[in-house]
């Protein structure tokens, strides 16, 4: 048993030489396999298998409304997709939505973290209130904004707009305003996340570098550019990656607010795939759209992780 401890502690880093050592290493492998098996079987069943099944269904015409036309079509769905204007529009909407919400979250979150970091009192308020939007369901958030905040001549935002002399606006009925609204809602909900993570990283930066900089009479801007920003870079990149992945997969906060409308003004790729499959009931083509979404996600995460590795 004493040798087991050595093996598990990783002290015997080279391959075990004796038969006894080999038996122990094998036991450790078996124990690991037994512990991993349930979780990995569940992950295979709920992620890998559906993925393969999706690729399979995307090669079929599968129309729940007109089942008599169903059948194998090969790559036809993908050919249709490439010349489908609505697909390219939704991809553009997705990129605008993701790019703007992530940029806003990081900029506002960082500015606010820097500001709160300097506060001697009242940090507690920020910590408690910032938790609130983050723990809420995007579906509930969307519902509250759609009604109590943005409804014309009823919501608070409209009330403020009228009092500011801008007049009542159709916040969710006008294509441009609807896009601005869904971006604002996502930013409202998730900026606290960026803020909290960046505030925690700021708090962990070494104090003495700042002391030295102050002695050298570096200005606040210089201290920010030369010290804070480089030290914070890994945290910022991580926030960008996490928020991008979430914004790309956003669904509920748009579905509940505009359902992609008016028309297709706020229809991100997710919503298009959903509408095609479950509203228009073209499961085959919907699968091809979902597969395209997957490819887009892989490309973007690839770019982001390359950014993370680069200096």
């Amino acid at each position: 048993m004493a040798t087991t401890a050595v093996t598990s502690a990783g002290i015997a880093s080279e391959a075990p030489r004796s038969d006894f050592g080999r038996v122990l290493a094998q036991r450790e492998r078996r124990f690991a396999a037994a512990l991993l098996a349930p979780a990995f079987l569940a992950l295979l069943a709920t992620t890998t298998f559906p993925l393969l099944f999706l690729v399979y269904t995307s090669a079929f015409r599968m129309d729940l409304a007109m089942p008599f036309t169903n059948g194998f079509v090969g790559f036809e769905n993908y050919q249709v997709l490439l010349s489908d204007e609505r697909f390219w529009t939704s991809l553009l909407v997705s990129l605008v939505y993701t790019g703007s919400t992530v940029a806003l979250q990081v900029i506002i979150g960082l500015a606010l973290a820097l500001l709160v970091m300097d506060m001697k009192r009242g940090q507690g308020w920020f910590r408690v209130i910032a938790i609130l939007p983050v723990v809420l369901s995007p579906a509930v958030v969307g519902m509250i904004w759609r009604t109590f905040m943005l409804a014309p001549e009823f919501g608070i935002v409209d009330f403020l707009a009228i009092n500011a002399g801008l007049g009542s606006k159709n916040w969710l009925g006008d294509p441009t305003l609807a896009m601005v609204s869904v971006i604002a809602i996502h930013t409202w909900q998730w900026t606290p996340f960026a803020f909290m993570v960046l505030l925690a990283s700021l708090a962990s930066l070494p104090e003495d570098i700042y002391e030295a900089a102050r002695l050298d009479r570096a200005s606040a801007w210089q201290r920010f550019r030369r010290i804070t920003l480089p030290l914070l870079r890994p945290a910022i990149v991580m926030v960008v990656i996490m928020r991008t992945m979430v914004a790309l997969t956003a669904f509920a906060a748009i579905f509940t607010v505009t359902a992609g409308g008016p028309g297709t003004a706020t229809e991100i790729l997710n919503l298009y795939a959903y509408r095609k499959s479950f509203t228009e009931l073209s499961i085959g083509y919907g699968s091809a759209l979902a597969a395209a979404l997957l490819v887009v996600t892989i490309i973007i995460s690839g770019i982001l992780f390359a950014m993370r590795r680069a200096k």
Binding site: M1, A2, A5, S8, A9, R29, F31, A32, A34, L35, P38, A39, A42, L43, T46, T47, F49, P50, L51, L54, T57, L115, V116, G122, W125, V128, A130, I131, P133, V134, V135, S137, P138, A139, V140, V141, M143, I144, R146, F148, M149, I156, F159, M196, V197, A200, A235, M242, M245, F251, F255, N270, Y274, S277, F278, I283, A290, A291, L293, T297
Partner: protein, 279 residues
Amino acid sequence: MTAKRLRIIALLAISTVFLLAWAFPIVWSVLNSLKTDSDVLAYPPKLVFTPTWEAYRDVLFGSGSILPNLLSSVIISVGTTVVTMLMAVPAAYALARLRFRGKKFAGFYVLATQMLPPVGIIIPYFLVLRNIGWIDTYQGIILIYLSFSLPFAIWLLVSYFEDIPFEMEEAAYLDGASRLKTLWRIIIPQVRGGIAVTIVFVFLNAWNEFLFAVVLSGNTVRPVTVAMFNFVSVEQTLWAKLAAVSVLAMLPVVVLGVVAQKHIVKGLTVGAVKGGGRR
């Protein structure tokens, strides 16, 4: 007025604006849920009014009560949490502490599954569950929820397991304890805090989920996030009732969030460093 004074006032103003912006939609929903239907519709909006529990009484005990939906949400969230933890704790321990071939790949696989967009896999779920008759069942929804709760829970737990000193295990092995016994008696108590944080996160994510619930639920199993749609229709919106349902849907997660506030921040940053974290 000195420059310093001005700075403090500016700081205070900016802080107030942001705190208000984040708190207001939630506070406003709570206020509206305590109004009568005519008070909700008053223009300009009423900040002072006589509070009433009417809307809550209606949505909880009136016709079309949402009590069954709240129960659905509780069963789904608790079920998902229990199953997830039973699978994630052993897996995270193996990934963090044991040596075996393919460990790196296993870790990468878990991370990769976490990045899967839900819309990308909802079609196969729907087709398969419909085939085996699991649409509108608890087992169906809980099984599918594992797709996002498991990878997240495993990654978060790995970071906690990695923090325990190896000496603790060694001492136990020297005393002749078996691997399983050591895991159960020595290791698990050490990561109690991490397990609690993970439970909070898994519960929150399951309670808040919407896309899978909308497609895979039905008349028997319908969580409150989906059921709240019944209060908004083209003909009329039942404002006070909608506010009451929103507040009921927010209540458990807000309470959990405020109580576990410090740990949530830690969980988020651990996730940030490890590349985990969802929603």
